[in-house]
């Protein structure tokens, strides 16, 4: 794909964007807002108020995202020597993604029987996850309007 220097194919980018959209929606649906604001009463959107369903949906979308991100990561690390680099915007967003993934995995582990974190650790993990997600949203919007790309290549620089 021309914008990402052949690291991502078009369908992979679409899957990536779709999984992020589902993660944002199912993440917001973890909060009791969709019922409060009548969204779940819109025909076809009753599921937005189903906490257990959205819990599962969030995990499934996260698994899809992790598959795509790790595929790209391996390709990036192998092709980096050919001059492809993360841009500043790319570094910021990758760092935020990494934070979200690590805290998300810790949260998922916490839900297993036999895995316990202290109350302070539990609350911190969730707040870091929420903060990093909000910051990633801001960074993504900024990158969209500033036409910031994840990757740069000496041969493609202006």
């Amino acid at each position: 794909m021309k914008n990402n220097y052949d690291i991502a194919s078009r369908w992979e980018t679409l899957i990536f964007k779709f999984s992020v959209a589902v993660l944002v929606l199912s993440g917001l649906a973890q909060m009791p807002l969709f019922k409060r604001y009548y969204i779940s009463e819109i025909p076809g959107l009753a599921w937005t108020a189903d906490f257990h369903f959205n819990h599962i949906l969030h995990h499934v979308a996260a698994a899809v995202l992790l598959f795509v991100l790790f595929r790209w990561s391996v390709i990036y690390l192998r092709t980096k020597k050919h001059g492809i680099r993360l841009s500043i915007s790319g570094w910021i967003r990758t760092g935020l993604f990494a934070t979200i993934i690590i805290t998300g995995l810790l949260r998922a582990l916490k839900n297993l029987p036999g895995f316990y974190f202290s109350p302070l650790a539990t609350t911190s993990i969730i707040w870091i996850h929420l903060t990093a997600s909000a910051l990633l949203g801001v960074a993504a919007i900024y990158a969209y309007f500033a036409a910031g790309k994840y990757l740069t290549h000496p041969n493609f620089s202006k």
């Binding site: 909060m31 990561s73 391996v74 297993l112």
Partner: protein
């Protein structure tokens, strides 16, 4: 069930034994305080046939935990949208026949007929402290947490009162008080609605090596607290002795509260008043059962993605 067993609230043989033991050792198994400090799971056993509905546990809970009760600011912020209802129990603090933010324990009575005999059994009801609690696992704000010693509690300093913990609790235990908590400092009209309250199994007393107030004051010594494995073993022995039944060992994947009764719990459940703040006694599937599968998917996905990346690079090299 053996016909010789008493189904009444009269003092039973075990009750007399309990009374005799009262004041000597309380109802704490040896090693409980140390186990709690080490972060081992602590559970309680309730021999409900011994309950005489004296209400001392309810009163003790109120006295010991009164300083944790909400003192809401009024008038409450106007809610948006208007259909969001406030919940105010601050003028009804004396209510003791259901769970409220000011009453974390109440006694439920089941009267009926079973196996050719009438029964009347009193059941102290509160949070069961699930082993894998959906309230703590699904709280989007990190306010509901599970401690390593098995206590599940809600941090009233950060709870926003959205009530998700109540919605996902199989027994709908947590109760909301509007007009208190962090939501007042954020967007009180648009998000949150107070703080959720429930039994915290006297976590502060446990930390000091004491036992929960309800257990300490019970004149019938019907509750016992101790390391989960020991308590579960004791519950099974008692159930066998009674030819009775256990509730809480497998419900919702396992809890840290075991009720033992000579009457099946579905029969008890059919004969109690149920509704808001008045939980049922029916069997509950493990609502977090899919967690292991979902977490396995999260661990497998990046490995599969990395493998796919390597394979595609290899294929590209070949071509």
């Amino acid at each position: 069930m053996k016909q010789k067993k008493s189904f009444s609230g009269n003092i039973s043989r075990r009750g007399f034994l309990g009374l005799a033991a009262a004041g000597l050792a309380g109802a704490m198994m040896p090693g409980t305080a140390g186990a709690a400090r080490r972060g081992e799971e602590i559970a309680t056993l309730l021999d409900i046939e011994s309950c005489i509905n004296c209400g001392q546990c309810v009163q003790a809970c109120r006295e010991v935990n009164g300083h944790k009760y909400p003192e809401p600011e009024k008038p409450f912020p106007e809610m948006f949208p208007a259909r969001v209802k406030t919940e105010d129990w601050s003028e009804k603090r004396d209510i003791s026949d259901r769970l409220t933010p000011y009453n974390w324990l109440y006694i439920q009575t089941s009267r009926g007929h079973y196996n050719g005999r009438d029964f009347e059994i009193h059941i102290p009801r509160r949070c069961l402290h699930c082993q894998n609690p959906p309230c703590a696992n699904l709280c989007p704000w990190g306010a509901a947490v599970r401690e390593t010693n098995g206590i599940v509690r809600i941090n009233d300093r950060i709870c926003l009162g959205g009530g998700k913990c109540r919605d996902v609790c199989p027994w709908l235990i947590p109760q909301r008080q509007t007009g208190v908590g962090m939501y007042l400092d954020l967007m009180p009209r648009f998000a949150g609605n107070g703080v959720m309250y429930k039994c915290d199994r006297c976590y502060d007393r446990i930390a000091l090596g004491k036992i929960p107030a309800c257990i300490e004051v019970c004149p019938m010594q019907l509750q016992t607290i101790g390391p989960r494995e020991s308590i579960l073993r004791q519950a099974r022995e008692l159930a066998q002795d009674l030819d009775g039944y256990i509730y809480g060992d497998v419900e919702n994947g396992g809890t840290n509260t075991f009720y033992v009764s000579p009457v099946p719990f579905e029969v008890l459940s059919d004969n109690i008043v149920k509704g808001p703040g008045r939980p049922h006694l029916e069997y509950v599937e493990n609502t977090m059962a899919r967690s292991e599968l979902l977490t396995a998917a999260l661990i497998t996905a990046p490995l599969a993605g990395a493998a796919a990346g390597l394979l595609s690079l290899k294929a590209k090299k070949k071509s």
